[in-house]
Amino acid sequence: MSGVQDDKTSETGHLHAMAEVAAIDATEAGDAVPEAAATEGAGMSVDTAPSPWRRLVSSPVVMTFFFLAVTMVLFSILAPGKFGTTSNFEQLAQNVAILTVVSIGTTFVIATAGIDLSIPSGIVLGEVFALKALGLVTVGSGTAVDVASEDTTAWYVVVALAASLLSGLLLGLINGFTVGYMRIPPMLATLGTLGGGLGIALLLQNGVNTATYALNSVATGQVIPGLSNLVLIGLLVVGIGYVGMHRAVFGRHTLAIGSSEESARRVGLKVERHLLKVYTVGGLASGFGGFLSVAYFSTTSVAGHSTDNLQAITAVALGGTSLFGGVASIIGTLIGVWIPAVLQNGFIIIGVQPYWQMVAVGVVLILAIYSDQLRRRSRSRR
């Protein structure tokens, strides 16, 4: 097969093709093609390589990764023997794992040009459902809520996990139904379920938190020696998310709907049903995040997740997923989750007021979105 070269560049997987097709027809060489070559250079084959700087600013993923790498190097230099240590990285990885899980789910939602503000209620409901399910399992004179972490069994874990996922499923289905079928704007639909879900969680708990050690091993144990389960789970979710978004039909249709809902409908995609699925993925991710949270922190935290939605959206946007839909990067989301965490951790270690983290994240976020805008503009110029 003549011109096809298998040149998989990063995750976008550009496979360049076809000498015959690549030959520029004289009729159109005058206008469109050279300009397309100049603007879409990053995805092109050998010819017209744009300057490294242009490539950098034209890809938010590359830019945020660059930013993350530079900050890590800087902190390592400024705090030798403190920031760049294995233990610090283990700690960082554990800290971001739950947010990573949730952000992967919301990447799918944002890829459809939607948004999911109900993440905090998903997490808290996941925690509360897990706890209530443990409360249904009687152990001796008490329930599974009260067992010590070393006395727990796989059965308790499965029961709690199923309950968390059920809560996430229900929340996601409601979100998906209101957005997909009732055509309520996602921001308002999920604002509604944010309040409603939190309210139900607080009602179930009478507004107070409950501690349980039954699920500890899920988060702190090590199935693979040297790697905490929580981090392992986060990595697995990233892997699943990557395949789902970039290698499977599901992600392809998600991006198509985000790109142009009407075009997707014209080719026969069932847009409403797909949106229902996408929001369900988001809900499941939140519910699962709740399960992990109660496992890691050994308690529910009904008031402790109120900004998780904004953190997740920040991570997704930092990672180059377009809030206008149609463009998404799972690896970008992973990077986007790390940036705020690294900044906070690094500032504390070098003795800068950690509040500067909020400022820095805000600046980086705006720059990342701006670079996305630049790319969109240059691309749609014809």
């Binding site: 097969m1 096809v4 298998d6 997987g13 550009h14 496979l15 360049h16 093709a17 076809m18 015959e20 097709v21 690549a22 030959a23 520029i24 027809d25 009729t27 159109e28 005058g30 206008d31 469109a32 093609v33 397309a36 070559a37 603007t39 879409e40 995805g43 092109m44 084959s45 395949v243 290698r247 499977a248 039909v249 392809r252 249709h253 991006l255 198509a256 985000g258 790109s259 142009s260 009407e262 075009s263 997707a264 014209r266 080719v267 026969g268 995609l269 377009s322 839909g325 149609g326 463009v327 691309r379 749609s380 014809r382």
Partner: protein, 277 residues
């Protein structure tokens, strides 16, 4: 039926049209958009569908594409009556419609667009290399040489290239009829040229092509037959060579033209005798 009338529509080899609509009616509420409309498309021919704004062209193709159900009338494909309930039914029959806009997703690349909704998979993962090969082969088969890389995002393509990709997408599926809604609207001269060449090539490859256009130059250049709609009714179905520019303008604007032998199957009585030539 007079002799001239039968001569006016002379299908190429096979007499039977690949697609035929007979006495199709469609109303939206009180508005009667299509009245006893007849349309025939033959393999290997370009059939132009002309008519003023509001004549019912778009409604007609949406009925063919299964987006609107027809109220009454017959929908014949390959001589057999069929019912089409949605876009998937239509594409199942081998009918592909290229809409004027909204045909492609900007943020997806050419291959992704061409296979959207019909992706090939290898287990659960997409089979990118086979899709890429098929897309490349299809483009090469249509002698499309203007796109640099089939992994280019559609947003970076020119209008002509987009139209080309949309058409290539339609023929990728062994389709037998391609319906093009104003494919040259908003294109420059060179790009129009390209698209028209492509339209002709499709017919030469044996497909039935229905071309909707406002531009009579385009119509006279590529069409074998012309169907003129006027206020939801068929004003004439004629061979392109049998009419002049002026006559077609008259048909579009007034619904009749002296000297145009109307080649519809006699009147609008349904299904008496069709294609007896």
């Amino acid at each position: 039926m007079t002799e001239t009338a039968t001569d006016a529509v002379r299908p190429p080899e096979a007499a039977a049209p690949l697609l035929e609509l007979r006495a199709v009616n469609k109303s939206f509420g009180a508005v009667h958009v299509l009245r006893d409309v007849h349309l025939a498309a033959y393999a290997g021919q370009v059939t132009a569908l002309v008519g003023d704004n509001g004549a019912g062209k778009s409604t007609l193709i949406k009925c063919i594409g299964g987006i609107h159900p027809i109220d009454s009338g017959e929908y014949l494909f390959d001589g057999k009556p069929v019912t089409v309930h949605g876009p998937r039914d239509a594409s199942h029959l081998g009918i592909e419609i290229v809409y004027q806009d909204l045909a492609l997703c900007d943020n997806l690349d050419i291959v992704q667009n061409m296979f959207l909704g019909r992706e090939r998979t290898n287990g659960i993962v997409l089979d990118e290399s086979s899709m890429e090969r098929m897309a490349a082969d299809t483009l090469a088969g249509l002698k499309v040489r203007t796109v640099k890389s089939i992994r280019q995002h559609v947003a970076s393509l020119s209008g002509g290239q987009r139209q080309t990709v949309a058409i290539a997408k339609a023929v990728l599926w062994n389709s037998r009829i391609v319906i093009l809604d104003e494919p040259t609207a908003a294109l420059g001269v060179a790009q129009t040229r390209q698209v028209l060449d492509l339209v002709r090539r499709l017919a030469d490859q044996g497909l039935a092509v229905v071309l909707i256009s406002h531009n009579l130059n385009d119509v006279f250049e590529v069409a074998d037959r012309i169907s003129a709609l006027y206020l939801g009714q068929v004003a004439a179905e004629v061979e392109t060579s049998a009419v002049t520019h002026g006559q077609v303008v008259e048909l579009i604007t007034t619904g009749r033209s002296d000297g145009v032998a109307d080649a519809r199957p006699t009147g609008t009585e349904v299904g008496t005798e069709v294609g007896t030539a």
